[in-house]
Symmetry: C2
Subunit: 270 residues, 2 copies
DNA sequence: TATTTGCAACTTGTATACTAGTTAAATCTC
DNA sequence: GAGATTTAACTAGTATACAAGTTGCAAATA
């Protein structure tokens, strides 16, 4: 990896682009200019690979595509009307998130849910969100509190109507908001990636009676503690909230053993 | 994302592959068969894309390639003697780790170090490792303790000899070992990914006198607390150890502002 | 009938040609 | 000479052809 920059292409110091800030990646203002008219420049940045990726990502995350299902490049090619190149790009992105498994010269399959990864995801999420909520206590503004209360109200409404998917989205938004308020939006991205595998698993379990109401109560407890400025209580409330996730696990390969992989993965070197 | 499996390709139930475990990804035992002769099947699984990826990853992580440096696909093509396809695959993997920035139709550049990401990485790492070390207290076996003591001895030796790079590797191994002992090797993978950006930054700062000895002292304090079965002390020792990382930050764009990006990134939707 | 062997139809990995967009330098205009 | 405009040389995204390996069925053999 010697040169790359001191090499042939940029010989003269004048237009030598090495590490010059004027020559850094030029930022383009994407399609979010004047907010009203998104005309035709809005979706322009989404490449074919992006579209395939997002569609597959959603289908795998929602368990619409079940673990082990083959996802052949050729089939996707026909399905999306694009060539193999963007399809492959999408699949390789998904492979990095362990949402698909690519077996060279053999096939590509919807990723099986890693059991050990599930446990680690829950543990890691709890550690991160407890830390986040502690920081939220100090940093949340009055506007933030208003937003959180509005979110709680929205959750109540969705729960009453029994709209599960929107409720799930609102739940995510709630936790994401806490992370943002704490000043750690990037950490929420990490959590979200971890969460996907857990969410996939939970699609397999029956929704428990009254769970939504319980979630709202726990969310409310967190918000109350934040508003009271009580970090310890907020942390404990969040910990208890997330601990509920562990309960209905334990029955892993009971019904669908083929959806899971029990390996203590060795091939992990990203 | 309707079918993919109930679709044309696998019509008859007999060889319908949907979610059948017999049809799950066939595990190949890679080049590690009879351990002696790896003949020519050993390196066969590493594709060209893997090689390019690993080489670039190392060069970027070690700051051999500085932020903002253009990494043209064509140049890499010539450098590695492969076509654009594997080069692009490698770059797209790196883009997902934010180690390169791909600007469509314009160029690909070594990723600038995200300042906000640095802070979040340190905070997240601390939360995770403190949680990990608490779990280590309960789960570490006598063999584990022996291993940790050996690691400490090795660190002392490397520090005495002033071998910085091996010391850094030993430091990583120490933390990775704690995570494994706690039962969360996957969480270490997350931490490692976070750590890369921090490591890149630290390459820019001068190594402080006596820092290695301090690190060893702190590591020793952690191990002592684990051996004593004192989770609180172990957690506090780890927290203090990792807090040291924050200290010499603050002087961000001082010398090399062009290496950093201060955005509160909006384009984040992996 | 049970076993082996070979082949045919898949799969992903790679190379390459082409498209469309960007950028900066060179040229033209005033 | 200064500024606006054209243009040529880049860039990454995509399509497609080919190479190499895997898999499972089918036919041949015992």
């Amino acid at each position: 990896m010697a040169s790359e920059s001191t090499e042939g292409r940029t010989p003269n110091p004048k237009d030598g682009r090495v590490s010059g800030n004027q020559d850094a990646p030029r930022k383009r203002s994407p399609g979010q200019g004047p907010r009203g008219a998104a005309r035709f420049s809005s979706s322009s940045d989404r490449t074919s690979a992006d579209i395939v990726y997002e569609k597959l990502h959603g289908a795998i995350a929602s368990m619409e595509l079940l673990p082990g299902t083959p996802v052949s490049e050729l089939t996707l090619t026909r399905e999306f009307g694009v060539s193999r190149t963007p399809v492959r790009a999408a699949l390789q992105r998904l492979a990095k998130e362990k949402l698909v498994e690519i077996v060279p010269k053999s096939g590509t399959f919807v990723g099986r849910i890693p059991v050990s990864g599930l446990i680690e995801a829950i543990v890691a999420r709890r550690a991160l969100e407890v830390m986040i909520v502690r920081n939220t206590v100090d940093r949340a503004t009055p506007d933030d509190m208003t937003y959180l209360r509005d979110q709680l109200a929205r959750q109540r409404m969705l729960a009453d109507r029994g709209e599960l998917a929107p409720f799930h989205a609102a739940d995510e938004a709630f936790h994401a908001a806490l992370a943002t308020m704490a000043g750690y939006p990037g950490i929420w991205d990490i959590i979200r990636t971890l969460k996907i595998q857990v969410d996939r698993y939970r699609q397999l379990t029956l929704p428990q009676e009254g769970r939504l109401e319980m979630v709202i109560r726990e969310h409310t407890a967190v918000v109350d503690a934040i508003e009271a400025g009580d970090a310890d209580t907020a942390a404990r409330a969040m910990e208890e909230h997330l601990d509920k996730l562990q309960l209905d696990i334990e029955v892993f390969g009971q019904d669908h053993p083929e959806y899971f992989i029990h390996d203590r993965a060795v091939d992990d070197q990203v």
